[in-house]
């Protein structure tokens, strides 16, 4: 499809704005002005509407397609949450309004949302307090790592390292690194954190261990109680990567079992849409002793029932966001929690786990499942075996695109060869799950008889496979090149 810029005609105007009474020279000296107008697209309003309507049709989204993308929890995004977040009472609220004393009562509804959401997340996870400020999962990880650093600094601990298992999400080491830590990687064993390896790595310089549980193989860490004890034994803190929270709601509270810090990905577990890459929301919960280090502001409820922002936390790590995080995102998540209630959240996790196991069982005779036991909300399969004629995980994913499904996550976690990570979520009907399994089996069969067909998929989408090497080498990053 032509770009907006290729469609542009000099002098054309879209949304008309009344001509202002002044020109720039009236108020600004020439040396402060740009020498040429920016070459932004010049299109009629209908042209713009048509461009983006057509562009959108080139995308798969949950609203149109089953999206079993492992680790991403692509569940249904309820539409009423969008209506809730679009209420002018929220969208028109300037964040600084809450910081003016006289206008504090103009923002009571928004502050109540923040306060109540923190409390709900505390109860779901058994933590002592939350901050809603982190703007995405990785941002939550960074916040958590900084809180850990501040805690140890405050205690006078000299701790420079963070342990991250090799099966962890890539953001874990990256976030801890940006918080100033050195990363120690430990190898998994039998798809689990190896307590022996952990023990060896755990020394007095370890500030924290970051754990994903269930891990990225979709398996619950069976050595969890032992791990908790070992980590706390060296005065290190235990971090819970909440990316897989959709597996355990109502079944385990990370605070109860000894995790000290946890982040959520609300755009996964609590059903806010992923938006083609964001915005997300990554609130962070902490245990009691870490509360003083949470970012400011904190929202506080006064005895008279009013809510205020509280900046008086001298040990706080400071500002992680300009204001209070992605309010418009966690407002949706708040609506979702109210809608589901405790039972609904539990049922969501149960059914997410059931769906993953159902697909696993239905597929186990057709594709290699490396850790073929009860999994949590997702599982990994592996496209290995001679009868596949060299068809790889990527090829299977592409062939699924032709059938109208988004591909599973491929080649992650790195510890499983030709990995396909499948996460169906609880919101897909059995009919969809069955159709997906049947279609994947068809593709596996086709790999035996006509592997080239699979290796050259997709065949029915707007483009066939794209030359990524060329993209990286020639680096055409704007329409100007």
């Amino acid at each position: 499809m032509k770009t907006l810029f290729a469609k542009s005609t000099p002098g054309r105007r879209g949304v008309c704005i009344a001509e202002p009474a002044c020109c720039e020279a009236d108020h600004l000296p020439a040396e402060l002005l740009r020498s040429h107008a920016p070459k932004l697209p010049e299109l009629g309003e209908l042209d713009v509407v048509r461009h983006f309507t057509q562009l959108s049709s080139l995308n798969y989204g949950v609203d149109g397609n089953f999206y079993p993308l492992g680790s991403c929890t692509m569940k249904y995004n309820p539409k009423f949450m969008e209506q809730a977040a679009a209420l002018p009472g929220f969208t028109r609220l300037h964040p600084l309004m809450a910081q003016l004393k006289g206008a504090g009562h103009f923002t009571q509804g928004a502050l109540e949302v923040m306060y109540e959401m923190e409390n709900l997340l505390c109860e779901i996870t058994g933590m002592a307090a939350y901050t809603m400020h982190p703007m995405a999962g990785a941002h939550g990880e960074l916040t958590g790592a900084m809180i850990i650093a501040a805690y140890h600094a405050d205690k006078g601990n000299r701790k420079t390292k963070v342990i991250v298992p090799d099966s962890a999400h890539g953001t874990n080491p990256a976030s801890a690194h940006i918080a100033g830590f050195e990363i120690v990687s430990i190898e998994s064993r039998d798809g689990m954190v190896d307590p022996a390896a952990l023990k060896e790595a755990l020394d007095d310089e370890v500030a924290a261990v970051m754990l994903t549980c269930p891990n990225t193989l979709g398996l619950f860490e069976r050595h969890l109680p032992e791990i908790v004890e070992m980590v706390h034994g060296v005065d290190a803190l235990l971090y819970y990567d909440g990316a897989n929270m959709n597996a355990i709601m109502g079944k385990m509270r990370v605070g109860d079992v000894g995790f000290d810090v946890v982040h959520w990905n609300l755009h996964k577990t609590l059903a806010t849409p992923h938006g083609g890459g964001g915005p997300g929301s990554g609130p962070v919960g902490v245990c009691e002793k870490l509360k003083p280090f949470l970012p400011v502001s904190r929202v506080k409820k006064l005895e008279d029932g009013r809510f205020v922002l509280d900046y008086d936390h001298p040990k706080s790590i400071g500002y992680m966001a300009p204001f209070y995080g992605n309010f418009g995102v966690y407002l949706k998540a708040y609506a979702y929690v109210l809608r589901l209630g405790g039972e609904g959240l539990t049922r969501a996790s149960e059914n997410a786990v059931l769906a993953a196991n159902y697909i696993r069982k239905r597929l186990e005779e057709h594709i290699h499942v490396p850790y073929n036991r009860i999994c949590m909300h997702e599982f990994v399969s592996s496209a290995v075996g001679e009868d596949l004629n060299g068809v790889r995980a990527l090829d299977l994913g592409k062939a699924l695109l032709d059938k109208g499904y988004h591909a599973p996550t491929v080649y992650f976690p790195l510890i499983v060869p030709e990995c396909l990570m499948i996460e169906p979520t609880e919101t897909e009907s059995k009919a969809t799950l069955d159709a997906f399994v049947d279609d994947l089996i068809d593709i596996l069969e086709l790999s035996k008889t006509d592997p080239d067909n699979v290796k050259t998929a997709p065949h029915t989408l707007p483009v066939t496979r794209l030359d990524e090497t060329r993209a990286a080498r020639q680096m055409v990053l704007t329409d100007d090149v």
Partner: protein, 444 residues
């Protein structure tokens, strides 16, 4: 069960296929000692009940006020088509475009966004967005640190204090030195900045227009930085960028912005949009996703995520940043906004806002005892000095549904009598008239 579609019979069949006799058996790995000690959550409610509850909360916020709050976050009109188009499920409910063949919509849109943003800021490359304007400045600074392997950062005090606090927080454990160069009556002190930037400096960071609304030309500062091997980082206001001398023209290495003004509602602080651009030379230092153009096996044009070797899912702790989820849908909003208005429309938005602010400045400084903090050129925001406490003025007017601006004493010691007043194209002369009358009444 909301959003879980299975019938009891289907659940039974699925459990049977899996080979377990109950739901809870699926969770056998979570031993009894690991089970929740409490799970005392409210009962689920119907969509109707939740919406009623959320509407009651929304009604507790008062938004039908006339407000002159800005401070980097502005109430511009958002054309309706922005919502219509970006809310389409194909955009909103897609994941990060890791499967390019099924994501050309998102990918082409990001490519177009990168192009539009690069042109607006007059820079060579842009990424697909980071969280917000503040984290964009942090990431830009870190690009300078990585590129120069230096640890000293020179920052103007006329950079938003909100962002300066963020920078201080983010860099706590990174062993960096942050040098803050004071503003002069609300102006960025370019001479002092030049004096502070030396051959140990990783980057110098300024804002245009600065927090007080004043525009500057930083060419000399950036020339100087280049000479001493430091990188230049500038944060701008995208709407004003239709008029103001560009980061590219001034010779910036990295230019960033808070993109909220490009079609994002204020929404009590987010989601907003962190805009990042840089020179071609710096692109491999840039964090975040980047989309590149390429061809498919049949030679047709297509788009893919590129330069992924910088990213955390490949590089882990060696990545340029930990950023994964970004503000993609907000970037799409910005692109749709810019496309709908075009360069002419955006410039008119800027000019109307400037015109309103200058009218307001004229009316307010006509009040005896009220004066501009500085007579330097400003855009759509300006600081005035009052004969009374700005806090008091704000509080007393706010009670009457009129928020006259932001009291600068909140972040600047010594400016307790100063008020930061912002205008956009949404303000009317009538609004300004009431503002002037009310303030005049207070002071008299």
């Amino acid at each position: 069960m909301p959003y879980v579609p299975h019938t009891a019979e289907e659940t039974r069949q699925m459990l049977e296929t899996v080979g377990v006799s109950s739901m809870d058996e699926l969770f056998a790995d979570i031993g009894p000692e690991l089970r929740p000690r409490s799970f005392n959550l409210p009962h689920g409610k119907s969509e109707m009940e939740v919406m009623a509850q959320i509407e009651r909360l929304a009604a507790k916020n008062k938004v039908d006020v006339v407000s002159f709050l800005g401070a980097g976050f502005y109430d511009h009109h958002i054309p309706a088509a922005v919502d219509t188009l970006t809310s389409r499920g194909e955009f909103a409910t897609a994941y990060t475009p890791y499967q390019p063949e099924a994501s050309q919509g998102t990918l082409q849109a990001i490519f177009e966004y990168q192009t539009a943003i690069s042109r607006l800021l007059d820079m060579e490359c842009a990424n697909a967005s980071v969280y917000d304007g503040g984290s964009a400045i942090f990431e830009a600074m870190m690009m300078g640190v990585r590129a120069t392997r230096r640890k000293r950062l020179v920052i103007s005090e006329a950079l938003s204090p909100i962002y300066r606090i963020m920078l201080a927080s983010y860099t706590t454990n990174l062993g960096l030195e942050l040098v803050t160069v004071p503003h002069r009556d609300g102006n960025t002190d370019i001479e002092a900045l030049m004096a502070a930037v030396d051959d140990t400096t990783a980057a110098v960071v300024v804002q245009n227009p600065n927090f007080f609304g004043h525009a500057h030309d930083f060419t000399a500062l950036f020339d100087h930085a280049r000479e001493v091997g430091a990188k230049s980082v500038i944060s701008v206001y995208p709407i004003m960028q239709t008029l103001l001398r560009t980061p590219g023209e001034m010779g910036a290495d990295v230019a960033v912005a808070e993109g909220q003004s490009l079609g994002m509602p204020l929404s009590f602080g987010g989601p907003y949009l962190g805009i990042m651009t840089c020179t071609s030379k710096m692109v491999r230092q840039m964090p975040g996703r980047i989309v590149g153009r390429t061809v498919d096996t049949q030679g047709r044009t297509g788009y893919v995520l590129t330069l992924q070797a910088r990213e955390q899912h490949i590089r882990r702790q060696k990545a340029t940043s930990n950023i994964c989820s970004n503000q993609s849908l907000c970037a799409l909003r910005a692109l749709v906004y810019m496309s709908l208005l075009g360069p002419c429309g955006m410039k008119r938005v800027a000019l109307s806002s400037i015109e309103n602010a200058h009218y307001a400045a004229k009316r307010l400084t006509a009040i005896p005892g009220v004066s501009l903090m500085s007579d330097a050129p400003f855009c759509n925001e300006f600081a005035i000095r009052l004969p009374i406490s700005a806090y008091e003025a704000v509080d007393r007017m706010t009670e009457r549904g009129f928020v006259p601006g932001f009291p600068l004493g909140r972040y600047y010691e010594g400016l307790e009598n100063c008020l930061l007043v912002a205008c956009t194209e949404r303000h009317t002369r009538e609004d300004v008239g009431i503002l002037a009358e009310m303030l005049g009444g207070l002071i008299r």
